[in-house]
Symmetry: C2
Subunit: 346 residues, 2 copies
DNA sequence: TTGTATGCGTTATCAC
DNA sequence: GTGATAACGCATACAA
């Protein structure tokens, strides 16, 4: 019933050569004559030969698979990064497998082990928010397996990474709010725990300083940055009677929560409070008002991550090259912060 | 430097048994004594043994990998289905790899080939909108490899599938609009090309009939169901001066496009036009007004798909069992269609 | 209950 | 430029 799959031996037999010759011909080995290569390729085609990657992986020790660890794949940002990696990887005949860590350190450790166990040729990862130990990643490096970190990275690991300039993104966002007339800008952050939020916090502070606006501790709200947290932050500000006319949230999710609560309290967005988020998640264009945010160019980030991976893979002789690439973010202005035109109309 | 990975031979050597014994002990083979199993497991633990799945796959012909083909992973629906599959699969020591077809028939064929080539033990797939030939899927079945279809399926392939009752979902949605007082309900669809939209169309028609509301061809708008298409559909209705007081869109995306255009034209949602979408995508709770939609229980769908896969896998002797599972959808009522309370207030 | 022998399909290392 | 052989790590038919 099941037609047996054709192997290099089948091809070899038909052509009266050996499997080694076929193997070399298929791999375009320079020591094989062009004539032989030609007939081998033709026969392979005729017999509908499909190389067995499993056998190849076993023999060569190279699986041609890259493992990606992301907190969750249903975030637009992460799924776009994965897509970027895939594009580069597939073009070089590499496959990609994705594992989600769900921001759970234990699951992250398990993910690393699962990937190592699956003999991936390398790992591209973004750290979970609660990751504080890096042993599992150090194990990867100890085994000389390429590791590339993206977005949520750490400098405690000596490996390549790609990030956006979170500082610059936050700076741009804050300056934009100032230009729209905001003078009391609240900031939603998680800077004590995650590097990228620390950078965004720094950008916010610096932008205020550069424009002569005093920093006000009371306007900082620390949380886990989900939708509900944004609601709570606004509630707290209102209850405490702290006046504010702008919000820069380091996450789109807490930004939308903030917008909802502001509206429920009869405050206009952006007329009373202008709001800017971070990540340019796909839903930001669907909210009312549509939300200004910072684009992180996730596809490009994935492409760069893949490139860094292959750089490491190919340099793997003894030179350990680690590179940090920083991408430039862009401010996408939408209605949640666009006051100037509104004012001239009303 | 690199410590060589421990194999079953290393364990065997330490214990003065053979590799076969170790292999069997690790697989919990009943022909091995409990005592031997115990020492083998202990030694495996001590030497930090990690089974080499690649070698195992080569030898046994079973990769313990399930391939999933989805149009795009960044749709909440699909990523949730994948998650459901993963949960069941991982609990049975199977891994999952995902390939996106991007609604492109050629990419879908390539995806099937890539998965077969990767020697996956089975494939779980949702068809692309433009898929009209099924040869690539027939090839899977010919090879006796389990295939499970979900959501966007076809009856032209004799294999297991899991769908929601699209007819019922549409029926519920339409009845809900009628109960909210709608009497001229537009329907956005793609029924001529995709089965599930045909079923939703049928549910819409039937609900109207059951409530004595005449069907009006002019209220049907066929399109590709993206956001922009929803905008166009509403534009067309308005331009043609066709009066309508409700919209049942078979997609959340065209529903949000419709809401945007209605609002831009000064029409109230739901006061002038009530809107219901389909899929309960995560953004539906973030729009203004929040959007009523039909939940398809994607995680459950993934779990069932995985279950059907394992059913096929385990029955693979000679009995080909194919089963069709139909899940029940649920109407999630939000503000875009909730008129009754609004009316009593205003 | 355990050991022996063999092969899954490929590739690396010799040899010629 | 090509062939012969072994080996990657594991699983299984057959023997004992």
């Amino acid at each position: 019933m099941k037609p047996k799959k054709t192997t290099i031996h089948d091809i070899a037999e038909k052509l009266n050569v050996t499997a080694s010759t076929v193997s070399r011909a298929l791999k375009n080995n320079p020591r094989i004559s062009e004539a032989t290569k030609k007939v081998v390729l033709e026969m392979a085609d005729e017999l509908n030969y499909q190389p067995n990657h499993i056998a190849s992986a076993l023999r060569s020790g190279k699986s041609h698979v890259i493992g990606i660890i992301v907190p969750r794949i249903n975030r637009a940002f992460f799924s776009s990064v994965v897509r970027g990696v895939e594009e580069v990887a597939n073009s070089l005949d590499y496959r990609v497998v994705v594992i989600q860590s769900y921001e759970d350190p234990e699951k992250e450790v398990a993910a690393v082990n699962a990937l190592l166990n699956a003999r991936v040729d390398g790992i591209i990862a973004s750290l979970g928010k609660n990751t504080e130990s890096f042993e599992h990643y150090e194990n990867i490096l100890k085994k000389d397996i390429p590791l590339v970190l993206f977005d949520r990275t750490t400098n405690k690991l000596n490996t390549s990474q790609v990030v956006i300039d979170d500082y610059l993104g936050a700076y741009k966002a804050t300056v934009h709010l100032i230009e729209q007339g905001c003078r009391s800008i609240a900031h939603f952050t998680n800077y004590k725990r995650v590097n990228i939020y620390k950078e965004r916090y720094r950008g916010y502070v610096e932008a205020l300083k550069d424009h002569g606006i005093p920093f006000n501790e009371a306007l900082i709200c620390e949380s886990n940055m989900q939708l509900e947290d944004g609601r709570i932050c606004v509630d707290n500000l209102l209850q405490a009677n702290i006046s504010f006319d702008g919000i820069f949230s380091a996450s789109d999710y807490s930004a939308i929560g903030a917008i909802q609560t502001l509206k429920e309290n009869g405050l206009g967005v952006p007329s009373d409070v202008a709001v800017v988020g971070f990540s340019n998640d796909s839903f930001t264009s669907l909210t009312e008002p549509s939300m200004t945010s910072i684009d992180q160019f996730p596809i490009e980030m994935g492409e760069v991550a893949a490139q860094l991976f292959f750089d490491m893979l190919n340099a793997e002789k003894n030179t350990i090259i680690t590179k940090k690439t920083v991408l430039q973010p862009e401010l996408i202005i939408r209605n949640s912060s666009l006051r100037l035109q509104e004012k001239s109309v009303s």
